[in-house]
Each structure stands twice: as C-alpha cells, then as structure tokens.
Symmetry: C2
Subunit: 229 residues, 2 copies
C-alpha cells in the first residue's frame, strides 16, 4: 500500500468534506467517527489530531461555511460603487442566495443544532459565525456613518447588537422547520417571513433609516428555505 503524504491543511479539508458528505446522507447522529475515518482513509489518531470530537468537527464545518459565504460575498464588500445602504442590502441578498443554494445542508445543520442537547454546539457555532461576520458588518456601518446615511455612534457595538438580534430568529426558524415537517409549510413560511420583516424593521430603526429600507428577506425566501422540495 502506497502511503500518500498530504499537507495537514489538505487532510483537514478532506476530513471536513468526508464528514459533510456523510452527515448529509446519513445524518449527524447516524455518522460515527469511525465512519468518517473509514471514508477519509485515515486512522483514529489522525482524526483526533485535528478534532477533539465529532461536534468539534461540526463546529469547524460551520466556520468553513461562514468563511466560504463571506468569501462569496467579498465582491459586494469591496465594490467601490455601492453606498452603505446598497451594500447592506446586497449583503442580505447575497446571503439569501447562498442560503437557498445550500438550503438542504442548512436545514440538516439546523436540525442538529436546534436539539436541546446540542445547545452548547449551537452557541459555539453562533460565536464562530459572529466572529466572522462582525468585522465585515462593522465596516459597512462605519462607511454608512461616514457617508451620513446611518446614525451609528459605535460601529462595532452596533454590529454586535444587530447580530445578537438575529438570534431571536433562531427560535422562529426552529418552530418553522418543525411545522414544515408536520406539513404546515405555508403557515410556517408566513410566520417566519413576518419575523424576518420585523428583523429588517428593527435594523432600519436602529440605523435611523425609514422603515422598509433594509430588506432582510424578499417574498418567497422563507418558503424556499424551509420547504423540502
């Protein structure tokens, strides 16, 4: 047997890829560390060199997803033509495209992290995502404050508060997924969409913009996110 020598970051990425594939086919609970190392062709020792546990790996997957989505959104962050309001709206629109594209994976991730026994994982993943998103959001808020379109005395504090805000969507998202599974997709999508509208309203107001300026979700987004087809 020829032993292939790979760089640690390649092995790390491959482990994440294998695990992601298995989680999405068999579910997180039905996938063991043994399944992952078998699929990746690695020893248990190698796995534990990279990750303390299966949940640490899931957290790393979330970080990678957050980083990937920020990379995909980078052109919006860098576009010199956009004013701060357009940039923020473009960021939400880009984030929605990303969410729709990966909707099945996102739903499967939510199914795992919303379980009561996974509350630690949920908050570790949230902290990881927040760490990736806060500086980007703070930069947009700073730009808007400089342009005089946002009233933001402290961009970092406001970015943290607005991101904290979004967690009030998590409970709604969980309820919507449960309801959708029970067959009430339309009612669940409507309730979730309404809460996203209120979240947008709260952002408008905190930034002292007219109601309806920031569009967190357009019509049909909540439905596309929670619906299985």
């Amino acid at each position: 047997m020829v032993r292939v020598i790979k760089a640690p970051e390649v092995r790390y990425a491959e482990l994440l890829d294998c695990a992601q594939r298995l989680f999405f086919v068999h579910g997180y609970d039905n996938t063991t560390v043994n399944d992952i190392i078998h699929e990746a062709g690695l020893s248990k020792g190698a796995f534990y060199h990279y990750f303390d546990s299966k949940s640490a790996l899931l957290e790393a997957l979330a970080v990678r997803m957050a980083r990937d989505s920020m990379t995909e959104l980078q052109p919006i962050l860098d576009d010199p033509e956009l004013d701060a309001i357009s940039r923020l709206n473009a960021l939400f629109a880009g984030s929605r495209r990303y969410n729709i594209e990966y909707a099945p994976q996102i739903r499967k991730t939510f199914e795992v992290i919303f379980r009561p026994e996974n509350i630690v994982l949920f908050h570790r993943m949230d902290q990881a995502v927040t760490a990736v998103v806060t500086p980007a959001l703070a930069k947009i808020l700073r730009q808007g404050a400089e342009q005089g379109v946002f009233d933001v005395p402290d961009p970092i504090a406001f970015a943290e508060m607005l991101l904290q805000f979004r967690l009030s969507l998590a409970t709604m998202m969980n309820d919507a997924l449960q309801q959708a599974k029970a067959g009430n997709v339309d009612a669940a999508a409507e309730a979730l969409a309404e809460r996203m509208r209120l979240y947008g309203l709260a952002i408008d107001r905190v930034l002292k913009l007219p109601d309806g300026t920031i569009e967190v979700a357009e019509k049909g987004f909540a439905y596309a996110l929670i619906s299985e087809q």
Copy 2:
C-alpha cells in the same frame, strides 16, 4: 427525633434558601449536594425529588429571583397613572434598584454562569428569565402602541427582540467583572456604562423614540454593580 412534616412547596423554598446561603458563603463550586442536604436537614432522596442536579437548583434560584424581581416591580406595571414611556423607564429604574440591592449575589451568580463550561446553564437561566419578563414587556409595548407613543407593530415579537438584544450586554458584563477583579474597576465600569447607553439608544430607536428617552442605566450604576464594596 421528631420528624417535621412540611408541605412540598415549603421544603422546596427551604432547599433554595439553604443552597443560596451556602453558594454565597462558599461559592457554587465549593458547595456539594451533601452540604445542601446537611444544611437543610434532608435526605439525598428528598433533594433529588426536587432537583435533578445542583445546576438545576441554581436555575431554579434564577427563576425565583426573576419572579421576585417582577413581583417587586408589579406596582410599576399596575400603576394607572403612568404612560408607557414612564412605565418603561420606571421598570428599568426599579430593575436597577433590585440589581444594586442584590449586587453581591448577582455578581456571584454571574461568576458561575459566565464560565465556558456553564454555557448550558447560562442559556437555561436566560430562557427562564425571558419567559418571566417577555409578557410584562409586551404589555407595556402594547399600551404604548395604543397610546400612540411607541411605533410597535407586534408587541410580543418586539419584546422578544429587545430582550434578545440585552444578551449583547452579557459579554460586556463578563469582561467588566474580570477587569474589575484585576483592579481596573473604573475603566470596566465606564465601558459597561457606555454599552448600556448604546443599549438604551437601540431601544429608543426600535420604538421610534428620540435618542435618550429610555434610560437603561444612570451614572454610577455600572460602577455600583461591578465594584466589590
């Protein structure tokens, strides 16, 4: 030995009292379930009849504290003379008085729940407090909307969002307590007070009130909360 028969709710309250006393004298970590049952004169079986664990007891203490503080604030909630803005400001003022009165206990509770290994406990306590406070806050928001002083399309959703907001203070509070312990009380109090001011600003804006209408903290509150004397 005479066995005293007590009603379950009396025993429950006594267990909480004993545990609270021991936690505040010796600290949560240094108090065992054995210490608590010894102090309360109960068997281990009796303890586990009421609580699954020591952390379940701490959570029950937090619920009791939240309920007690709401009971203490009930006259403000019921006062027919107050308009919605005055009621909300009176609620924050009352909550500050309560926090200052119990500052040593609150600091000790925070010391426990802010530890990384206690993140589950932190969120269970937060959910318990949120469940107690949300209906009261929603009622004030509804009153304000009816009086035309708040612009609140959905009182319950807005109450949930505003309470979610306050969690962005938790990290600051933790940092401030750590800094205060390291001797930087003034700097820590100033940073915490500034974040509380921004939290008040966010509330003003979400309710469409002029900046500075809702006073989350007056001068000196953050200092009194974190300072040991």
